[in-house]
């Protein structure tokens, strides 16, 4: 029988075996970044969006650039990113975040400007703006959340949906003959000379999270160089629309998604470009 306990009202954690003795001195080694708004995020349990929001805000806090960062939110599940990131943000029309970011960065080149986009936003309706912003070498960071499905509109096929993957608009599985293969955005955009740093990471285990944070941190630092666009593609899960638990979704990334979307750096900054 489900029951609630009194301690729930106070919101403190439950220690199954509280440690005995007080001779140990504990220091805080990890806390939620203060650059996040202190509010519950609406994302589903286990959603990669909230995790990556946290990582980006950690980088902003580490680098102490809250006053200098402007984020551009997409249309999709993360349309409410501006409710959770405590920085100035603009909500762009669907797919157009790279155009919006282009203008913001050109007019305020000393600021840190990033877009945060999902598969439909960046790779379907927004593929033109994305490609041209990278081709122009706009000095922005593009964070591309790739979960192979349209989340907010309840699970339609995305340009990145795997062949054979069932979605509401590919109920028998994505048909290669009808819809083509999933688009590998990182490889596609890395070919453009304006792309300075392109990488694909995931966040489905602790080490992957560490690598992704490192990639984001590097990408933010590269903005100071004004040498081109940084694109960080992050393979995320969508437990709700994949019809899996968060743990099953993490496994699915390792077993299936990475076969189509290999992780790693696709384009590293050339040292002579510095």
């Amino acid at each position: 029988m489900i029951q609630t306990d009194e301690h729930i009202l106070s919101g403190t954690s439950v220690d199954l075996n509280p440690s005995v003795g007080g001779e140990d001195e504990y220091e805080m080694v990890y806390h939620k970044p203060e650059t996040m708004v202190d509010v519950c995020m609406h994302y589903c349990p286990g959603c990669a969006h909230s995790l990556v929001h946290k990582l980006i805000m950690e980088v902003v806090e580490d680098m102490d650039i809250q006053e200098k960062t402007i984020g551009i939110a997409p249309v999709g599940c993360s349309v409410f990113a501006y409710e959770y990131m405590n920085i100035d943000m603009q909500e762009a029309a669907h797919g157009r975040a790279c155009a919006v970011a282009t203008a913001v960065k050109r007019l305020m080149p000393e600021k840190y400007v990033f877009t945060y986009q999902g598969d439909g936003d960046l790779a379907a309706i927004g593929i033109g703006e994305t490609l041209h912003a990278i081709n122009r070498g706009e000095n922005i960071l593009i964070v591309f959340m790739n979960n192979a499905v349209y989340g907010m509109t309840s699970g339609q096929m995305a340009p990145t949906t795997l062949v054979g993957m069932k979605t509401t608009t590919s109920p028998e599985g994505r048909d290669l003959a009808l819809y083509g293969a999933p688009i590998k955005v990182a490889e596609l955009m890395a070919q453009l000379p304006g792309a300075f740093y392109v990488t694909r990471q995931s966040v489905n285990n602790a080490n992957a999270v560490r690598r992704t944070k490192k990639a984001l941190s590097n990408a933010f630092k590269y903005q100071q160089l004004h040498k081109g666009t940084c694109l960080v593609e992050i393979i995320g899960n969508c437990p709700s629309n994949w019809k899996m638990t968060p743990l099953e979704a993490s496994k699915f990334i390792d077993e299936e998604m990475i076969k189509t979307f290999p992780l790693g750096d696709i384009k590293l900054p050339k040292l002579e470009a510095i």
Binding site: T69, I70, D88, M89, Q90, A99, A103, L107, G128
Partner: protein, 354 residues
């Protein structure tokens, strides 16, 4: 006042943009307004301003959104098919209450149409165009001088009301060469504390959005916008009248068709027909009140437009059925002559009196 210059309409508009302190221009080539983009691509870098030839009109209007959201004076220009592409962006700009200037050098349509001038975008400009309940202040120049003057006015109004402003020109005024003078101008100081310039410690974060997912909030936001448009309607109506004091009949026309009607009116007067011309300068907010007053004086109004009949509906609304409202139109980019406009009026007068 600076020296008198002979300039093409599009270029006068571009030069005025620089002098009005436009920080950023984003555009895409389309006839008959590519000169605006070309002029600014050449001149803006000299002033360290931003100019980008974007990959499409869709990208252009979204770049305007980003620039306006960051508190800068931003503008774009296009012609009818490109303005159609911008409609989503315009709705977003209005919903997010962002000031900006958009220029439509109207060409005849629909569809790809032709490159000759038209006035078929009237409905698109003043009745909506984009989705949702919003309005733009729409200024209709009828000369190269007004192409320049309306840029200063447009930016000032946009920032005063935090709303997009549209300059509704057409292919003839954009391409013709006339004398123009640029005035001495300093942009007025406006509060832009809402802009996304980076959140300092002493204020809350700013976010620019037109999303209000709770219906209660969406309704409140719409009330706010409607209140703003009401103030605009009460304060920003502009028009010009020519020989209306003793007129029996009235041409109602804007932009290029007003110029042709002016000649028509002169010929009519020579023939002894007392015709006046009423030229709205703002087609939104429309000068309904003044037209209603004139309806008490004239016997008939005739709207003259380069389309199948769009502004005529606003004239009908204005006079509230008091007098007949007629229409003369020309489509496809064809130009009516002053004589044919007058002939149509004379026919109407004949049928009315016989």
């Amino acid at each position: 006042m600076t020296e008198l210059k002979l300039m093409k309409g599009n270029e006068a508009l571009a030069e005025a943009a620089i002098q009005a302190g436009c920080d950023a221009y984003f555009g895409y080539p389309i006839t008959p307004q590519s000169e605006v983009l070309e002029y600014l691509a050449r001149e803006m870098p000299k002033y360290n301003r931003v100019v980008i030839q974007a990959e499409s009109e869709v990208a252009s209007i979204n770049m305007v959104y980003g620039a306006a959201g960051a508190g800068f004076r931003a503008m774009t220009s296009s012609s009818s098919p490109g303005i159609s592409l911008m409609q989503e962006g315009i709705s977003y700009l209005a919903g997010a209450e962002l000031p900006c200037l958009i220029v439509n050098v109207n060409r005849a349509g629909p569809g790809l149409g032709t490159i000759q001038p038209g006035q078929g975008d009237y409905f698109q400009s003043v009745k909506g165009g984009g989705h949702g309940d919003y309005k733009m202040i729409v200024l209709a120049p009828a000369s190269v001088q007004e192409m320049a003057d309306f840029v200063y006015l447009g930016f000032d109004l946009a920032e005063k009301y935090r709303n997009p402003v549209l300059i509704l020109s057409d292919g003839a005024i954009g391409q013709m060469m006339e004398k123009v003078q640029f005035k001495d101008y300093t942009p007025p100081l406006v509060d832009k504390s809402w802009a996304t310039t980076g959140k300092p410690k002493n204020r809350e974060r700013n976010f620019i959005t037109s999303l209000f997912i709770q219906p209660e909030a969406m309704e409140q936001h719409n009330f706010k916008l409607e209140a703003k448009f009401k103030i605009i309607r009460e304060n920003e109506v502009r028009f010009e009248e020519y020989q209306t004091a003793d007129a029996d009949y009235l041409f109602v026309a804007y932009g290029l068709s007003a110029r042709i009607c002016q000649k028509s009116m002169d010929i009519a007067r020579e023939k002894g027909i007392k015709v006046g011309l009423f030229r709205p300068i703002t087609v939104y907010p429309y000068p309904y009140q003044r037209l209603l007053e004139l309806a008490g004086q004239v016997k008939m109004m005739m709207s003259v437009e380069l389309n199948s009949g769009q502004m005529v509906e606003d004239v009908q609304l204005a006079v509230k059925g008091k007098i007949p409202v007629e229409f003369y139109g020309k489509m496809g980019g064809m130009m009516p002559t002053p004589e044919e406009i007058l002939l149509h009026l004379e026919k109407l007068i004949y049928y009315d009196t016989n």
